[in-house]
């Protein structure tokens, strides 16, 4: 393909879109619908993931210190805990503070003879990665002075499981929808090629290279994919903002991400998906057609 053909081929690509106007329209609509669902799903998953991560981050372990240690010895255990791999930080809680917390939690009168020495010194420990809970607990047990550890294992494991399920479900749905879009674009381009089969035969006969024959169809697929992606992106933005404005008031306690924060990743997802669906969709149909 020579450079001086570029304008001509570009024109042919656009001509192909309007020649089968209804099919092109249908292809764009299906791409918009699929990408809209993909985008909405991704946005929901992203928000859920952040919410789950936040909840997970707030989940901490309580590391109890051996009660036979003195106050000074108990405090020094904290620096050893901080050295354990996967420990993000540790906050010391003295016996007195533990007693105050207990009294507050259970509505107990401290002046009614509660003795702080029955409480252990302890540390509130948060982890870098909650998935490594068991390994980290094993290491914490090896720290001299650590007597016991209380961890909301079930909660942490459920959060992790939920994140994994969300990720897997979103990947499967995104994959299925991308394949659907791909097939529709591929079919549109195949119809366009069938429509122009005589022209293609003449092209081959007079010495057109495969690249020359392919190029307009690639342009067609690219334009259909990108127009679909552009429309889906705009609609997604509009829907997201409106949805956030209405449910944001009701669910104030949940920290939803504004669309401006999702702009770049969404742009990349939609652009990439449009490009992929358009170019790969037309490439596969052309390849099949060329093999005939």
């Amino acid at each position: 393909m020579k450079l001086n053909n570029f304008g001509y081929l570009l024109k042919q690509g656009f001509r192909g879109i309007f020649r089968r106007g209804f099919m092109s329209f249908a292809a764009i609509c299906v791409t918009v619908a699929c990408l809209l669902i993909v985008g909405t799903f991704s946005a929901v998953m992203y928000n859920l993931n952040i919410i789950v991560s936040d909840l997970n981050k707030n989940t901490e372990l309580l590391v109890f210190v051996d009660e036979t240690l003195t106050d000074a010895e108990a405090r020094s255990v904290g620096s050893d805990i901080n050295l354990v791999e996967n420990v993000a930080n540790s906050i010391p809680i003295t016996r007195e503070e533990a007693m105050q917390n207990f009294a507050a939690d259970y509505d107990y009168d401290v002046d009614a003879g509660l003795d702080p020495t029955i409480f252990r010194h302890r540390f509130r420990v948060s982890l870098v990665d909650n998935r490594l809970l068991h390994e980290t607990m094993e290491k914490l047990y090896q720290v001299p002075g650590v007597a016991n550890i209380s961890a909301p294992e079930a909660i942490m494991e459920n959060f992790t499981l939920m994140q994994d399920i969300l990720l897997m479900v979103s990947l499967v749905i995104i994959g299925i929808l991308l394949v659907v879009s791909l097939l529709i674009i591929s079919n549109t381009v195949k119809l366009a090629m069938y429509d122009r089969r005589d022209e293609i035969a003449i092209m081959r006969m007079v010495g057109a290279t495969n690249g020359f024959i392919r190029f307009p169809f690639m342009i067609q697929g690219f334009v259909l994919g990108m127009v679909g992606a552009g429309l889906a992106f705009g609609l997604e933005w509009l829907m997201y903002d409106n949805l956030l404005a209405s449910i944001g008031q009701t669910l104030k306690w949940l920290n939803f991400v504004p669309f401006s924060e999702l702009l770049m990743p969404m742009l990349l997802v939609f652009g990439g998906a449009g490009l992929f669906v358009g170019v790969v969709g037309s490439w596969t149909s052309i390849r099949k057609f060329m093999n005939v």
Partner: protein
């Protein structure tokens, strides 16, 4: 130049379309290829245009060895061969001008060259006043002239005409044959496949007769099966 050396072509169904064809058509020559239906004429054309490869033997067309030509080279070989069909194979939604320009654009010609070349070619085939017409508004003879213009426009060294007068009345057939002769006189090698005995007799050129996949005769002058 077109050269066949002991070419055999078998199809997958097992039938042999060509059973050892050898022939040579020199540059600038005019030859008729005649023979009954199913004799192997179409197979010869398809071998020359690179649509088929020989089962054995060698086929040389304008410097290309078609029995071992690479896929990437085929378009460039085809640019040296113009093909005219019985059913014209024109693009109906393109004007006369665009049908011819299309063949030039396909090979990457510049617009400037296209604008210079097309009026000359349309004049050569007598369609200079019909450049903005669409094929379906032309007569059969004019459509075939347009197909010839398209085959000619990239200045191929060889033109293969497959039953070019099959859809035309006798008067238009003579016109088309005369036009092909004029083009041949300008130096283009011409291989015309035809059934029409009268035309072959009239123009007294080299006649290659093929029958049952073999060359039955190859001589100057009339049509004798």
């Amino acid at each position: 130049m077109i050269e066949f050396n002991n070419v055999v072509k078998s199809y997958s169904e097992g039938n042999q379309a060509l059973r050892g064809v050898s022939m040579q058509i020199e540059d600038g020559e005019f030859a008729y290829l005649v023979g009954p239906s199913g004799s192997g004429k179409s197979t010869i054309i398809r071998l020359i245009t690179g649509e088929l490869r020989p089962t054995s033997g060698t086929v040389h067309v304008n410097g290309y060895s078609l029995e071992r030509i690479r896929k990437k080279e085929l378009p460039f070989m085809r640019r040296t061969v113009g093909v005219v069909f019985q059913d014209f194979r024109l693009i109906q939604d393109m004007t006369v001008y665009d049908n011819v320009a299309f063949a030039m654009r396909v090979v990457g010609a510049r617009e400037k060259d296209i604008k210079e070349r097309i009026p000359y070619v349309l004049e050569l085939v007598g369609l200079e006043n019909k450049s903005s017409r669409y094929p379906n508004t032309l007569s059969g003879g004019e459509q075939q002239r347009l197909a010839i213009a398209r085959a000619l426009v990239n200045n191929p060294s060889t033109i293969i005409a497959d039953e070019p007068t099959g859809n035309l009345d006798p008067a238009r057939s003579v016109e088309i044959m005369s036009l092909l002769q004029e083009i041949n006189a300008l130096g283009t090698t011409m291989l015309v496949v035809t059934h029409e005995q009268d035309l072959v007799e009239r123009f007294q050129k080299r006649v290659i007769v093929i029958n049952d996949g073999l060359i039955a005769s190859d001589r100057m002058g009339g049509y004798q099966l």
